[in-house]
Amino acid sequence: MITRRFFANGADRRIFITIGLLLGVAVLVPILNIALPPDSAFHVPSYMVALVGKYLCFALLALALDLVWGYCGILSLGHGAFFALGGYAMGMYLMRQIGDRGVYGNPILPDFMVFLNWKELPWFWYGFDQFWFAVIMVMLVPGLLAFIFGWFAFRSRVTGVYLSIITQAMTYALLLAFFRNDMGFGGNNGLTDFKDILGFNVQANTTRSAIFAASAVALALGVFITWAIINSKYGKLLIAVRDAESRTRFIGWRPENVKLFAFTVSAVMAGIAGALYVPQVGIINPGEFAPANSIEVVIWTAVGGRGTIVGPIVGALLVNAGKSWFTGVLPEYWLFALGGLFIATTLFLPRGVIGMWDHWMATYRERKAAALPPSAGTPAATTPQQREWQASATGGAPEPQPAE
């Protein structure tokens, strides 16, 4: 019992280290960027702040996907849509902050509307001049879409490949819609030329550092919330639905509600990631809805290790760092490399980098234990990581399996 609790703390320790690291980075990187002179060895260049800040948003998106894919077996191929919607909500706020500093100098209408000869602001742009309103929309719009989509999909018991396909169709439909000029979101140019956020210049080093810090804190918060969800009774139910959906039904649970909650929370997380991403890259356009983007998120998560909390973060950071490096050296081969990576992960690292690491550590510990003379009081208790690995090795793979 005591050993069990100790090892349970071991698994939690990893989560707290991750949260601590993220909070540390949130404080340290801005300081190293702003306070140190550029010629200092410890100076973090501004381009680096922007780049890593972007990766942190991707990591939050991957974590959001993992909540539904890794823990509930819902392979969403449309999570990019929630990210993009959050991004658009933030973009609309940033657009309205431009005020009369646009090319056409209209104090109310963004440039693209003036260009389209629109006379007044469409109703759905109302309120976006207020930051608090935009923040609410960043969470509400993706959350509501996920809720409505999930309500119908899960209630009609669409699962597996069919569900993946309709999530993909959802993001594709949004892609087409946002491409249209008359939708009122800037058509294929999207929203850009941002000036201020909360009164601060978005281009300024200090502002960028602050947004970087906000991204790191948001990710830390995402890790904490995911951890809290997974460790609750509901979290166990989520995994139960993943492993044996109809079993949960016959003991009285409603798997459609279980999935709906996770899907909605996940979409809100993705929306927040998108909202933090947009001011850092300075643009949001319909390309963010591209099905390929959503598929990339799946690859990050798979590479890092789905069904773990740290895995998707590691995966998003690794793959995106690799992408930045690769597109610098051999830009035309990046997609092949990405495809190859996915295949290799599926074949050789079914539990991703983190799963592999845990497996190694478990084997290492076993060897060490075997080498030592058997000591009293340490029965062959399995660590949570080991248990996770064993579960995957013995058929607890996060695919929904038909009962009976």
């Binding site: 069990r4 009774k233 509901y234 995994i239 016959f250 003991i251 607890g396």
Partner: protein, 248 residues
């Protein structure tokens, strides 16, 4: 026939899959507190009968009543489970990535909505209940083991334990001893007889030794309807039963 006093009442139930009549004008009545064994060759419709009772399959025609008053055809799986009908699947189905204890915890009777589950803390009462059930299903020493690592027989028991945790009025148990050793089979018969003291039970089983061990009324299904009903000796002496088991 009167429904009062019955825990389960099926009358004239039929269901077809793509024109194939899996259940054909089936009538079956289980009294409150009764344990019944159901036998029948492969494809007789035993599992399908359970699908109908638990709301997985909707019958094309016929009446299905629980407790003499509730029309089960109007409810879905989760509702029916909450009313007090527990079911063990033919293929043992437990939550493989959870420990034995967590499997039981998720099955314990209680609210079934999301937010209570999110903020749930294990109560002393629940811990006691889980300990009781672990004792009954004899998995006390395996409580921290993952479902995936249990033997086939242990999974069957865990699943029965999950039924008990729900505290149902009626248990439907599909082939509980398939793949068990003789010793395990005997143990299971004892376990089910214990359970039957306080619950109504339907057991589907091919193993005749086991059915004899249970020592209860037997119903033989064939091609979706009742072929013969009575004591095991009576049923196994029935020419028609012999015929369907031996083939024509």
């Amino acid at each position: 026939m009167s429904k009062s006093g019955t825990i389960l009442y099926l009358d004239g139930v039929s269901v077809s899959f793509d024109g194939f009549r899996a259940i054909n004008n089936l009538s079956l009545v289980l009294d409150r507190g009764e344990m019944r064994a159901i036998i029948g060759p492969n494809g007789a419709g035993k599992t399908t009968m359970m699908d109908i009772v638990t709301g997985k399959t909707k019958p094309d025609s016929g009446e299905v009543y629980f407790n003499g008053e509730i029309d089960l055809t109007r409810h879905d799986e989760a509702d029916i489970a909450m009313m007090g009908i527990g079911r063990k699947f033919q293929k043992p189905t437990v939550f493989e990535s959870h420990t034995v204890e967590d499997n039981l915890m998720l099955s314990l009777k209680g609210p079934r909505s999301i937010f209570p589950a999110l903020f749930h803390r294990k109560t002393a009462d629940e811990v006691r209940r889980i300990d009781d059930i672990l004792g009954i299903i004899r998995l006390g020493d395996k409580r921290h083991m993952l479902g995936a690592n249990l033997s086939h027989g242990q999974k069957q028991w865990l699943e029965i334990g999950m039924l008990l945790a729900q505290d149902p009025k009626l248990l439907l148990v599909d082939e509980p001893v398939a793949g068990m050793t003789d010793a395990e089979t005997e143990e299971t018969a004892r376990l089910l007889k214990d359970i039957a003291k306080t619950h109504s039970v339907i057991v589907v089983e091919h193993d005749m030794h086991f059915v004899r061990e249970l020592g209860v009324k037997v119903t033989c299904l064939h091609e979706g309807s009742v072929l013969s009903e009575g004591t095991l000796d009576f049923v196994s002496a029935d020419d028609r039963v012999v015929e369907v088991y031996l083939g024509r």
